[in-house]
Structure formats: C-alpha cells, structure tokens
C-alpha cells in the first residue's frame, strides 16, 4: 500500500486554494464524477474539510484561511478501481504566508521548510482575475493615445501600437485596473514602492526560486499550475476556452519562461479550474441547477474528464504512469 503523499500548495491571497480543496473533497467523497479519485475513508478529523465543503455546497465564498488558522488536511484516496493510493496531505496555508512572510519579509517557518523537504509534488494556484500586471507607463500612454487619437500628434503612433488587436483589447481591459491605480495615486499623491506592489508573475517566480535548493536533489518535481476562476476566461466562438498553457504563456510570460528554463527541476502541467463554476452572486441560480453538484466544476487541461477536479492531483502524484 502506498504511504503518505504530500502536496505542497502554493498561492498568493485569494488564489483559490481552499475552494479547490473543498470541491476536491466533495468530488472524492460523493463519487459524482465518473473516473475521479475517490475517498476511501473519511479522515478521523474532518472538521476543516467538512467546513470547507459545506461552504462550497451552499454557494458561499470559502472562508479565507488566515495565518493563525492554517492547518493541513488529509484525504485517504483511491483509484476508481479501488486501488488505494494512500493518504494525501494538503497543507491549507494562507496566501499571506506566501505574500507577506515569504515574499515581503523573506522568511518561512521551520514547519514550512519541513513541508518543502517532504513534498512529493506542488500545486501552484493563480487566480486569473487577480493578476497584477507589469504594465509600464508607456503602455498606458499608448492605450490612451489609441483611445484619443484626435488629441495626439504622434509621428509613429500607428507603428508603435501593437498590430495585434487582441493584445490591444486585453490591455484596454486591463486599463480599468490601471485607472484604479492612477486614482489611488491622485488620492495619495504618490505610491511608494513596496514588495507588496510587485507584479504577480515576479512574486510567483520568487516563491518558486526559494524551493529550488530544496527540491533540486529530487528533481524533477511535478508542478501543477492551477489557473483558478477559469470561468472568467471567455468561451470562444468555437465553444472552447483558450488552452491554459497558452494563457500562462501570454499572461504570465515571466513565470512561463522560468518554468521552461527549469524544466529539469519543475515538470509542469497547466490546468484551468473553476471550483465554484461561476460567479457566486451573478450565477448562483444557474449553478444551483447543476445536479449533481459536481457538474458546476469547470476543469480544463491534459486528460481532464468533465468536472474531474481530482485530475491535477492524479497527475501531480504521478498516478497516470504505471507503477
């Protein structure tokens, strides 16, 4: 029988870590999704898992994990054919642990270091609606010039603005965020640099860099990159969403480059996942119609069957390969 397997769960605040664990627990316990991993036995201490699942089933936002309430949850899982894969441990750590303790304050606890040393695999969460972009002031000026051509007299404007209209559109969409920053700036005169303000992709690379000395000796270690709130990604005219790997390469290119450059250390698979299935305020009626409840889960990635949110765990633990 397989022994204890540990998954290191990494993500900035509100990246969807707890919601993922809630939906995973529901799918594994309920057996609603054909072919998914299943819960072999309910853990002796299932209080935290049950609380997370209850919120998920009631369409409530997962209670944010705060540093003082961090805990590990474990699930005794088995394959659909009842082949046990052992107890899987997920430390449910708060995003502040990563954003503040590690990235900003540059330290971690001995307990976390032990987790890093023992982890079999990594799940890295990114909320696609909460990406802080590295846009430059020049980018914003170009967007403004494109929006207000009559107010500008720019010699090279037509050449300087990207020919890729999709990219321009994406940047325009991001302009609302930037307007927010500008407004913030006006209100506070100026924004002083702090480590908190660093863009998402650089923070995530920084967090992964910390792991390299620890995991290199047992490389490659599998990293499942989970793009959460995947329902926010628009469905194309062909009825599909963009490939999550492509999304990563376009929206978080620095992280994408880092993972590629270290492919011998980090073996990566990218998934789009919406554990809630939609916006809990706007889409709740529609989500409530899903029967069974697991049908509201959106998951996209290699070898993912519909709604099978256990697939990233299965891949990360190497269960797809023969023993």
């Amino acid at each position: 029988m397989a022994s204890l397997r540990k998954l290191l769960v990494i993500g900035l605040p509100e990246a969807g870590k707890s919601t993922f664990i809630a939906a995973l627990y529901h799918v594994a316990e309920s057996g609603e999704v054909k072919g998914s991993l299943k819960l072999k036995r309910i853990s002796s201490d299932a209080k935290h898992l049950n609380a997370l699942r209850r919120e998920w089933l009631k369409f409530e936002h997962a209670t944010r994990t705060i540093p003082d309430a961090e805990q590990s949850v474990s699930m005794l899982l088995e394959e659909p054919d009842a082949h046990s894969i052992g107890e899987i441990v997920f430390p449910d750590l708060s995003g502040e642990t990563f954003n503040e303790d590690q990235w900003r304050d540059r330290h971690w606890s001995p307990e976390y270091e032990a987790l890093v040393n023992e982890a079999d695999s990594i799940l890295l969460f990114v909320h696609i609606g909460m990406v802080r972009e590295p846009y430059t002031i020049a980018d914003i000026q170009k967007i403004a010039q494109a929006a207000l051509p009559e107010e500008t007299d720019v010699q090279y404007r037509s050449e300087s603005i990207s020919a890729d209209s999709k990219e321009a559109k994406a940047k325009t969409e991001a302009a609302s965020t930037i307007e927010g920053w500008a407004k913030e700036s006006q209100e506070t005169d100026s924004i002083h640099w702090s480590a908190d303000l660093v863009c998402t992709q650089v923070k995530l690379v920084g967090l992964l860099q910390f792991l390299v000395p620890y995991v290199e000796k047992r490389a490659p270690i599998r990293v499942g990159v989970l793009l959460s709130a995947w329902d926010l990604e628009k469905v194309t005219e062909k009825g599909v969403r963009v490939d999550p790997y492509v999304w990563l390469s376009k929206r978080l290119p620095y992280l994408h480059q880092f993972l590629r450059a270290h492919e011998a250390i980090f073996s990566t698979q990218v998934y789009g996942v919406s554990a809630q299935g939609g916006d809990l305020e706007k889409d709740q009626d529609k989500l409530a119609e899903c029967e069974p409840a697991s049908e509201r889960i959106i998951i996209q990635g290699a070898q993912c069957a519909a709604h099978d949110i256990t697939e990233p765990v299965r891949w990360a633990l190497g269960l797809r390969e023969p023993a």
Partner: protein, 326 residues
C-alpha cells in the same frame, strides 16, 4: 549544472537573548535570501560559483545606467519568447530590479516614466540575472551587473586617486560606457558630453584601469530621441560618424571596442521596442569568454585596498594583486 539560486542567503534568525536556565528556544523563522542588490562579497561568491561575467556600467549622472538595468529586467516581463534569444531563469536580485523598475510602471501612478537614480551613498550595487537560451540547448547562464552612481565617475575625473579606487574597472569582463546620445546630438550639450566621455576613458587608460586586454562597449543611449529629432537617414549618418570617431580613438588601445545605439526605455510614441539594442549586447556579454581566462598578461595596478570594490576585487582575483606582506 549551475548551483541553485539564492542558496547562500538562507540562515536561521539569531535566537533572542534568554535567561540562564531557560530551555533553548527554537528559531521562529528561517531567513530567506533578501532579493536585494548584492553586496560585493555576495557578488563575488556568485561569480565564483557560477563563472558569470561581470559587466560594469559606467557613465556620468543621467547617462542611463540604472534605466538600462531596469529595462534588462523589464524586457523579460512581456513575451513568452523572452528577450534577445533568452528566457528568464530567475534572479537573486528580483526585489532590487523591481524597485528600480517601479517608477516606470503604471502601478506607480506616475505620469511619466523615470528611474530612481543610484545615489552615491548606495555605494556599489550588483544585480544578477540568470538566463537560458530560448531553444533550451544550453544550460542557464548567469550574468552580474555592477552599478554605481555617476558621481563616482565624476569624482574620478577630478582625482586620479579616486579613479584608482575604482578597481572594479580592472576586474570587469566588460567595461560599458554609457553616453547620452540625445545630448551628443544637441548643440548646447554636445561638446560637454563628448569631452566628459573622452576624459573618463583617458583617465581610465592613464591610470591603467583599461588596457589592451579590455573589452569596451560604448552605448549611445536614448537613441529613440535622436531618431525622433533627426529621422532615420540623418541619425544613421550621426551614428556612422561616432562609430568612426570612437574606433579611431580606441581600437588600438583595447582588445575590442564596439559602439552601439540603444534605447533602454523608448518614449511612448517611439517605434523602437523596449530594450532596443540590448538583446545583441546581452548575447555578446554572455557568450564572450571571461577576461580572466584570456588575459594572463594584463598589466594591473597595485591599488590601495581600502574601498569595498578593492576588497571585492581581491577576493575575486587575488592573483592580480600584490598584497603587502603582513
């Protein structure tokens, strides 16, 4: 295989003082690498461990040294293919780069991009990039940049002693002189800008900080402004003139000299891309053999070992210095 990044900095937080008889207290946290610019000692360790080239950015205040550094980090933020044929494989100085980039980012709320200048009091700052070729044919390579305030160079112009203090120049694999081309092009500033650049080079030669083994890159910075003012044809003539001028001045005095127009952060209406001219330079800096491995006959001065740069150079290349006995 390269050694892991940021390994060296990890250490336990010192235990707080405790009374006699108290049980030992386990450290609450374990420190992680700071991510800030490296000290000379840290840079030296990294260079020894990785064999990375050291690129020294020199030039007067406002010539664009720190902007160039910031752009080298920024240039990897926007495209999956990376920059200049390389992809980013990390950095030990991510926070340092990010701080330098911040005032050119929209998140700063500023109306116009600029870069926080390196202060004289900051001393000498070292920045690190780890890069890998886009095709993944070679292992990752490291490169270290040395940045210091233009005030150091201005003082070196006034004082030979100050110049001799800058022993980092003899240690660098690449001496990169940044000259503001927009000032070279403007009538009012041309003479002063050119004279300052030439004087700095002359001082370096006279004090034997540069010699026939040196590799010198002269970067004509803010090229976007020159292009905008002159147009492409006249800018080409302008460039050709300075190419000839600098080649005539230095080709016989150093191992090689190149003159390259760059626009690290072009103004928003420019058609030039971010980091214009820097991709080819990056390739050159990473691919050329390091100075120490090809210049056994370099004539080095015997410096007074007083500054942090002296200590850095001594640790890095002790064979190049005569250390007084005792």
């Amino acid at each position: 295989m390269n050694p892991p990044l940021e390994e060296a900095g990890a250490s336990a937080v010192p235990e707080p003082p405790r009374a006699i008889g108290d049980p030992p207290v386990k450290p609450v946290f374990i420190n992680l690498p700071s991510g800030k610019p490296l000290t000379s000692k840290e840079a030296s360790s990294l260079i020894r461990a990785t064999g990375s080239p050291l690129v020294l950015l020199a030039g007067e205040v406002g010539s664009g040294k720190t902007t160039l550094l910031a752009s080298l980090h920024d240039a990897f933020q926007f495209e999956a293919r990376g920059f200049g044929g390389y992809i980013a494989a990390g950095s030990s100085t991510l926070l340092g780069f990010e701080e330098r980039c911040f005032d050119s980012r929209a998140a700063s709320g500023a109306g116009e991009p600029h870069t926080i200048r390196t202060n004289f009091d900051d001393g000498h700052l070292f920045y690190h990039l780890r890069l890998r070729d886009h095709e993944l044919k070679q292992p990752a390579k490291d490169i270290v940049f040395a940045d210091m305030s233009g005030e150091f160079y201005e003082r070196a112009l006034d004082s030979a002693d100050e110049m001799r203090e800058l022993t980092i120049i003899t240690r660098a694999d690449h001496f990169v002189l940044l000259v503001d081309a927009s000032k070279l092009q403007a009538n009012k500033n041309r003479a002063h800008t050119r004279a300052t650049a030439l004087m700095l080079m002359r001082r370096c030669f006279e004090e034997k900080m540069l010699n026939k083994g040196s590799k010198v890159d002269i970067l004509l910075t803010k090229w976007d402004l020159v292009l905008a003012r002159l147009g492409e044809e006249d800018a080409g003539t302008f460039l050709a003139g300075y190419l000839r001028f600098f080649q005539d001045e230095y080709a016989q005095k150093v191992r090689r000299v190149t003159v390259i127009p760059v626009a690290a952060r072009p103004y928003s209406e420019s058609r030039l891309p971010l980091g214009y001219g820097l991709g080819a330079l990056l390739h050159k800096w990473l691919q050329e053999p390091r100075a120490l491995f090809e210049q056994a006959d370099r004539q080095m001065p015997v410096p007074a070992l007083t500054s942090s740069f002296d200590r850095f150079a001594l640790v890095e290349a002790p064979q190049l210095y005569e250390v007084p006995n005792g």
